[in-house]
């Protein structure tokens, strides 16, 4: 393995998804190559920063579950609006930022429709 090949594998190694055989070959090269050792340290740092950055991105907005749930039940999206009343349809919903736990309660013209009756949630 040369440095170019090692450089291609390093990010996958630090991401934790490099197959075992390739990981072994990479480590063997890196053990004897100062340049690639630096690369590995830099890649590990970058990996950590990237994971932090992606995890810090916003998530789906709170109303999305209600829309998905309603569409899964075959209701037209145009009639779904969180917390408001349109054409006799209301969607009552409490949601956390992650969408778990979510309680969906759907009423059509005053009648409770079984949507997704949810227990306590929080089983993430």
């Amino acid at each position: 393995m040369d440095c170019r090949q090692a450089g291609e594998l390093t990010p996958w190694y630090v991401a934790g998804s490099l197959p075992e055989g390739e990981a072994r070959d990479l480590v063997r090269h890196v053990a004897g190559c100062a340049t690639c050792q630096d690369e590995l340290v830099q890649a590990a740092r970058l990996a950590r920063e990237l994971r932090r950055a992606f995890a810090g991105m916003p998530g789906a907005s709170q109303g999305t579950w209600a829309k998905v749930a309603a569409r899964a039940q075959g209701m037209p999206l145009a009639r779904v609006d969180v917390g408001s009343f349109l054409l006799g349809l209301s969607v009552g919903l409490t949601a956390t930022r992650t969408g778990v736990p979510v309680t969906g309660r759907l009423q059509i013209l005053g009648r409770e429709v079984p949507v997704f009756e949810v227990g306590t949630g929080g089983e993430r």
Binding site: T10, W12, E49, F54, G59, V68, V102, R124
Partner: protein, 177 residues
């Protein structure tokens, strides 16, 4: 805790609780993936919707050949590109007059790393997201994107170099002398 695959099997039986659980596990991840690809919150939100509805409808056809995450991100990817094409052709009609801004939208923090990722070519930032955030292997990503493994590796190679250049004064340690 149920495996993703068990949840999908229950969703295929019409189990709404399993669906909500699956939604909880994937909605934010799909949103972030779509946002990474499209850099458009509004479209990313729609990708989540379309993807999860497709998951509900298609759970019965999920054969368990791939990981659930690969399957769901594959759907999300198709939806993202479809919405993007429609948006570019101006075919999209504003179908949600009730769309109110999420309070979280307003206070999006600046993030140097995220900006650097956003500046990468789309094919590279997608690979970076799937590899580092989702932990997919280059093989899985190649399958998902329908491109050769070598292409995935070289995208990653270039992305990593570019990110290191942009971020090196700040990630510290190594400076070009």
């Amino acid at each position: 805790m149920a495996q993703d695959g068990e949840l999908v099997a229950r969703v295929a039986q019409g189990d709404g609780n399993a669906f909500r659980e699956l939604y909880g596990r994937f909605a934010d991840r799909v949103f972030r993936y779509a946002l990474t690809l499209l850099r458009n919150r509004h479209l990313a939100e729609e990708v989540v919707q379309e993807t999860m509805v497709a998951v509900w409808q298609g759970a019965g056809s999920f054969a368990g050949r791939s990981q659930v995450s690969s399957w769901i991100f594959g759907i999300a990817r198709n939806q993202a590109y479809r919405l993007l094409r429609e948006e570019e052709k101006g075919e999209r009609t504003a179908n949600e007059p009730t769309c109110a801004p999420d309070p979280a939208d307003v206070v999006e923090q600046e993030d140097r790393v995220r900006d650097a990722v956003a500046a990468l070519p789309p094919g590279e930032r997608e690979v970076v997201f799937l590899a580092f955030y989702e932990g997919l292997s280059y093989r899985e990503i190649a399958g998902l994107l329908g491109i050769p493994e070598g292409t995935v590796k070289s995208r990653m190679y270039h992305a990593k170099r570019r990110l290191a250049e942009v971020l090196s004064p700040w990630t510290a340690g190594r400076q070009a002398s």
